[in-house]
Amino acid sequence: MKALCASLALTLATPLAAEEIWVTNEKDDTISVIDVATLEVTRTIPTGERPRGITFSKDYSRVYICASDSDTVQVMDPETGQILHDLPSGEDPEQFVLHPNDRHLYIANEDDAVTTVVDTETRTVIAQINVGIEPEGMAVSPDGKIAITTSETTNMAHWIDTETRELFANTLVDSRPRHAEFVHGGKELWVSSEIGGTITIFDVATQAEKAKIAFEVKGVHPDRVQPVGFELTEDEKTAFVALGPSNHVAVVNAETYDVEDYILVGRRVWHMTFNSDKSRLFTTNGVSGDVTVIDVAKRKAIKSIKVGRFPWGAALRP
């Protein structure tokens, strides 16, 4: 309660909310809010159990949080930090993606081998699609026609037609796929494989594999180089890839697929997000319990910000 009052007071004190990064702390059941200007944590907001995936509605009036162990997606008012309501999400929601229609959430139910589609307006489940075991990575194409679920133990990207809500393709990738993104206007799909140590790139039109990116960090055994989350710069020429327990972020040329650089960050780097002009990148480092701030142009880590225990997801609130 005290924390809630404090956070309310802070919110009121800063009416024109500065740009913020919201970080879910998987083992603290909280969100740490980082002020992009000062690079300080300005408030800590309680959530349901084991918060992981986090995303904002298009107008940023709502924030959706996967409270995995509470088996729900929470809808929070980012101004007050209050939970407005819960969405039916299926069991153990881990990660989700908001359809470009700003209405349908595609949720990976990790314990249930299911992708759940929830209508955030009617607050009902409108479809459940069987996918492989331990679904995790979620993506939706920019035109909204294709949704992707990757399954960690089945080692596939499952391609969902968002109109029929049925699978139309299943493509194998290397072990433990974790994250998926549509790239280059939706022409390519990138899928990271944590244990396989690669990113597989698919041609979306044919669902055929067109390239694979491998990583090699000097002084780190290849087994520990485990790609998880990744994001691309505004021009989509450069990708930043979190490499898990190697404690590095790789900088990849998104046109040639060459790895150009490695940046040392905190321990077990997991997901990441940019600020709005994409000049700063914020990575969640699970084991060290902090967020590394990267200067995108200089490709250098400039600060570590202590957050809660096991930070997992990150989202920008401009």
């Binding site: 314990d111 075991i133 960690e152 133990t153 699978l167 139309f168 299943n170 396989g196």
Partner: protein, 390 residues
């Protein structure tokens, strides 16, 4: 449970839809159990489940089937259990006639009786119960793989952890049973390998009921050990070991079969996505997953992974793939797990656990290897006398 019904219906659709460009494949695996009479133990607190191992194979089957549904690959698991003194060989022959894929829950001697059958010549047999290092050494077989870590791997994991803590002076209590002695042998060998010293050894020879008088007997029993940092207990049948901790003459931590224990798996492993495997196992069986369950799961999944990647159910192709550097199994222990091409042992991290937590996981940081740090655990290529894989 309407949701379950919906899921079942959807599942059928998925199976049909995904079949666009697939080759239908079918793979049957037999889980063969030789029941073994166990010697009595002092405490009955922890009964051994009848379906130990088999439950892991069932979970692996489910995992394989889910993946297979998208590829047109299907799997079946047959189980056979032979009572003590029963005709294991007949059961093995019958299983091998049906399918060359065998997951074997049996002691080392029985494992070799089966691998050496003419019917097993082109089979792929997975040992999930016999930790005997000799099966990875001179007694290896070309058709025999091991998903359970050897005694040597477990001992090496423990010695790395102790060496890292600089707990280098060790005392050792060994039980009277063959598995106790074999584990003690592995501990001695590993102590030499990693530069630790066993300063004293005693054999457990009580026949008292320790629940009543451990507090009187154990201090005296451990009084004449030279000073040591850690007391090792080799009690693989879990007879007396649980009564040692806190009853020792000197206040020393206990490790080995009790206390800090190197294991293939334990309910306390939760990192690297392991929590998901644990909860799936618990949902299936209502109990916690144990090392033999894990080994059986890994065996069935290894076969599934090989079928998925090769699109084949031919044992020769699967064997070649499993032994190749293309093979990797995500075994929920943080590193890709593969098979040693010189003796068929699955490389894997070994968690060192107490009842409540993972203390550390081997390979411990700092123990290096030119190939993979996982090969610091157990028999490395130059020291294994296995010739069947050459």
């Amino acid at each position: 449970m309407p949701k379950r019904l919906i899921k079942a219906a959807l599942f059928l659709c998925v199976g049909l839809l995904a079949g666009a460009a697939r080759a239908d494949l079918f793979l049957t695996i037999t889980f063969l159990h030789q029941e073994v009479p166990l010697p009595p133990v002092l405490s009955n607190l922890d009964p051994i489940p009848d379906t130990l191992g088999e439950d892991g194979a069932r979970l692996g089957l489910g995992d394989n089937r889910t993946t297979g549904a998208f590829l047109g690959h299907n799997y079946a698991l047959q189980t056979a259990s032979v009572p003590p003194g029963g005709d294991l060989i007949a059961a093995a022959k019958s299983a091998l006639t049906a399918s060359p894929y065998l997951v074997l829950n049996a002691p080392a001697a029985d494992v070799l009786r089966i691998t050496d059958l003419p019917e097993a010549a082109s089979a792929l047999i997975f040992n999930v119960a016999a930790p005997d290092t000799r099966l990875r050494d001179a007694d290896c077989r070309t058709n025999l793989f091991h998903t359970l870590p050897s005694e040597a791997m477990r001992a090496d994991a423990l010695m790395q952890a102790l060496q890292r803590k600089r707990f280098v002076r060790l005392a050792l209590i060994t039980g009277p049973h063959a598995p106790d002695k074999a584990f003690a042998h592995a501990l001695r060998r590993s102590a030499v390998k990693f530069g630790l010293k066993i300063v004293g050894e005693k054999e457990w020879d009580f026949d008292a009921d320790m629940r009543r008088n451990a507090s009187q007997e154990v201090p005296l029993f451990t009084q004449d050990f030279k000073d040591h940092d850690v007391l090792l207990v080799a009690d693989e049948i879990h007879d007396f070991g649980r009564y040692i901790a806190y009853n020792t003459w000197l206040p020393r931590p206990v490790a080995g079969s009790e206390g800090l224990v190197p294991v293939a798996w334990s309910r306390v492993v939760e990192q690297w996505g392991a929590a998901q495997l644990q909860s799936r196992f618990k949902e299936l069986t209502g109990r916690d997953m144990r090392p033999r369950d894990y080994a059986a799961w890994a065996a069935v999944r290894a076969l599934g992974e090989a079928v998925t990647r090769t699109e084949s159910n031919d044992p020769t192709r699967l064997r070649a793939f499993i032994l190749s550097d293309q093979f990797e199994l995500a075994g929920f222990k943080g590193r890709p797990q593969s098979f040693r091409p010189w003796n068929g042992q699955m490389r894997q991290p070994i968690p060192l656990v107490t009842d409540r937590a993972v203390v550390i996981q081997a390979p411990v940081e700092g123990f290096l290897h030119q190939r993979t740090e996982l090969d610091t655990l157990g028999l490395d290529e130059p020291e294994s006398r296995c010739e069947a894989f050459q």
